[in-house]
């Protein structure tokens, strides 16, 4: 495929610890095409976050190859090819919401007018317009996480990497943010890598679900979703949805059985 954005070949990562080597990732092969929404799901220690961090050049693989936009993750990071959303919003308490979103733009040297314009744009995108002068503590947890997504979108990278962004939020807020994220993805046509613990979340959001298993961290199953791009929340009661969820669950169980 020509429009491959992220490509991993025999990717391995071994941490040396006092108790011997830990194989966080072993022989991972995966291609992610432009515009895909790929979820990584699996139990703790399966390497899903480590894999995402390899794409972001936050970890250095010990074997195999990985390319992002056809270049090494380091080059991709230097050219600011991706936005990364962490589990915690990580907004600076001494900056307003607008100031927080402006932060990466200041670092990347955007002009003042451009900064203001982009902050406005992404605030609208995550439905937080009018909140730019508020401080983080004045916002709920869900709104803070939306602001952190806006911050990752502000410099308009084509790739969005998200590491359990909604993990700390309650069910109802999570549903709402999932809906918003899908709408945002449809509008911006970004390629999204999304780490999660939740099967319904993975199935609801993704075009491709990567099921991973631990010790050593590897891919147990890759499931392409037949669900349409347009997904109302009640699609989760449809037979197709339940079938994919089953397959994901089976994949997770298998990984555990021989793990």
């Amino acid at each position: 495929m020509n429009d491959t954005v992220i490509s991993a070949k025999n990717l391995s990562l071994t941490f040396e610890t006092n108790d011997g080597p830990v194989h966080a990732l072993k022989d991972i092969n995966l291609d992610i095409a432009k515009g895909e929404f790929v979820s990584f799901i699996g139990p703790s220690g399966c390497g899903k976050t480590t894999f995402l961090r390899c794409m972001a050049d936050l970890e250095t693989p010990t074997g195999g190859e990985i390319t992002v936009n056809g270049v090494t993750p380091r080059e991709a990071r230097s050219s600011r090819a991706y936005g990364y959303v962490f589990q915690a919003a990580g907004l600076y308490p001494w900056r307003t919401i607008g100031g927080n979103i402006r932060l990466p733009l200041e670092i990347m040297g955007y002009s003042k007018e451009d900064q203001a314009k982009r902050v406005q744009q992404v605030l609208e995108l995550v439905e937080l317009d009018g909140f730019d002068r508020k401080f983080p503590w004045q916002l709920s947890g869900g709104m803070q996480q939306r602001a952190s997504i806006a911050r990752a979108l502000a410099f308009d990278a084509d790739i969005l990497l998200m590491d359990e962004p909604f993990g700390a939020l309650d069910e109802i807020v999570r549903d709402h943010l999932n809906e918003q994220l899908l709408a945002l993805w449809a509008r911006t046509e970004k390629t999204i890598g999304f780490v999660t613990h939740s099967i319904p979340e993975a199935v609801y959001l993704s075009t491709k679900i990567v099921v991973m298993s631990p010790r050593p961290g590897r891919i147990a199953d890759v499931i392409g979703s037949p669900l349409p791009k347009e997904r109302p929340l009640d699609i989760r009661d449809s037979p197709e949805f339940i079938e994919i969820a089953h397959r994901v669950r089976d994949g997770l169980r298998e990984g555990h059985a021989d793990g």
Binding site: A56, D57, L58, R77, S78, R80, Y82, G83, Y84, F86, Q87, A88, G90, Y92, P93, W94, R95, T96, L103, P104, E106, I107, M108, F135, W137, F155
Partner: protein, 291 residues
């Protein structure tokens, strides 16, 4: 207002202890005088004598208060606030070297902390020396600093500032190292994903994150700086200052003078700590970090 009662209770207890101590410590002198004069002292007469001695071992509060008034307020009324006998004059001298030493110390402390946080070699090599420096009694090295700097023709004020700096940089280094390291892994990773340079990470993340730590350190630092200034004045007593007042007082057994200089120094320290507290509240509030 709920705090008024407990605060008053503590103040009363302090005064009661002080008066009690004054009677206990001064009564021998009262009895000695009576014996030499060949009179018997009743308990009431003894207590009265301990409250009015000219050179008591422990001057009672009202004598210290009277001396404080005589050397501050009364001199202001007579328009001689900056006469050499005025505590305002001496307090001003102490204040100038305290502030100078505090500025030196804060600057040095921040510079060292930045170096320690950014350079592994400095982290490993400098920190033990900084801690060792604080185990040396300042009283021992102050005269040496004075002699060395005097021979290099350095102004006395600077010499006193250097001694204050010696005490005040320490809390600033410790607090700033902790503050500059307070951003967690995630925040540092986040900077990495934006490909931020080290200086950008410093100015936009580490430095603002360290502000609350800095203010806590500054409060300790300015109090330490005052102690340094007073100690320095013992070596440079010809220039005056609260420390010089204490020294002169001890030469001539003027305990009242020593105590009023002590109280003046304590008041000065409290005012400076309070001033930093105000700056802290305003700054953190403007930064949106008020607790």
């Amino acid at each position: 207002m709920r705090n008024v009662l407990p605060v008053l209770t503590v103040v009363l207890a302090v005064f009661a202890l002080w008066y009690g101590g004054a009677v206990l410590l001064n009564k021998n002198w009262a009895y000695d005088k009576a014996e030499r004069a060949g009179v018997e002292l009743s308990f009431g007469e003894m207590v009265k004598d301990t409250m009015t001695q000219e050179k008591p071992r422990l001057p009672p509060p009202h004598l210290v208060g009277a001396e404080l008034w005589k050397t501050t307020g009364a001199m202001v009324q007579r328009g001689r606030a900056f006469s050499k006998r005025s505590l305002i004059y001496h307090g001003w001298i102490t204040l100038s070297s305290t502030v100078l030493g505090f500025v030196f110390g804060t600057g040095l402390g921040i510079l060292l902390a930045v170096g320690i946080v950014h350079n592994r070699a400095m982290d490993k090599s400098v920190m033990p020396w900084i801690i060792a420096s604080q185990t040396i009694p300042i009283l021992a090295i102050a005269p040496m600093i004075v002699v060395v700097l005097a021979s290099a023709q350095v102004d006395d004020l600077i010499a006193k500032g250097v001694i204050s700096m010696y005490l005040s940089f320490f809390p600033v280094v410790v607090g700033m190292v902790k503050g500059l390291r307070s951003p967690d892994h995630m925040q540092m990773d986040q900077m990495r994903t934006w490909n931020a340079s080290r200086s950008q990470t410093f100015w936009k993340l580490r430095l603002p994150a360290s502000a609350p730590y800095l203010f806590a350190s500054l409060k300790v630092g300015i109090a330490a700086s005052l102690i340094g200034a007073v100690v320095a004045e013992l070596s440079l007593s010809q220039d005056g200052g609260l420390g010089a007042r204490m020294l002169v007082g001890s030469y001539y057994g003027q305990t009242v003078q020593i105590w009023s200089a002590l109280i003046a120094a304590a008041t000065l320290a409290a005012l400076m700590v309070a001033a930093i507290g105000v700056v802290q509240r305003v700054t953190l509030k403007r930064m949106g970090m008020a607790q």
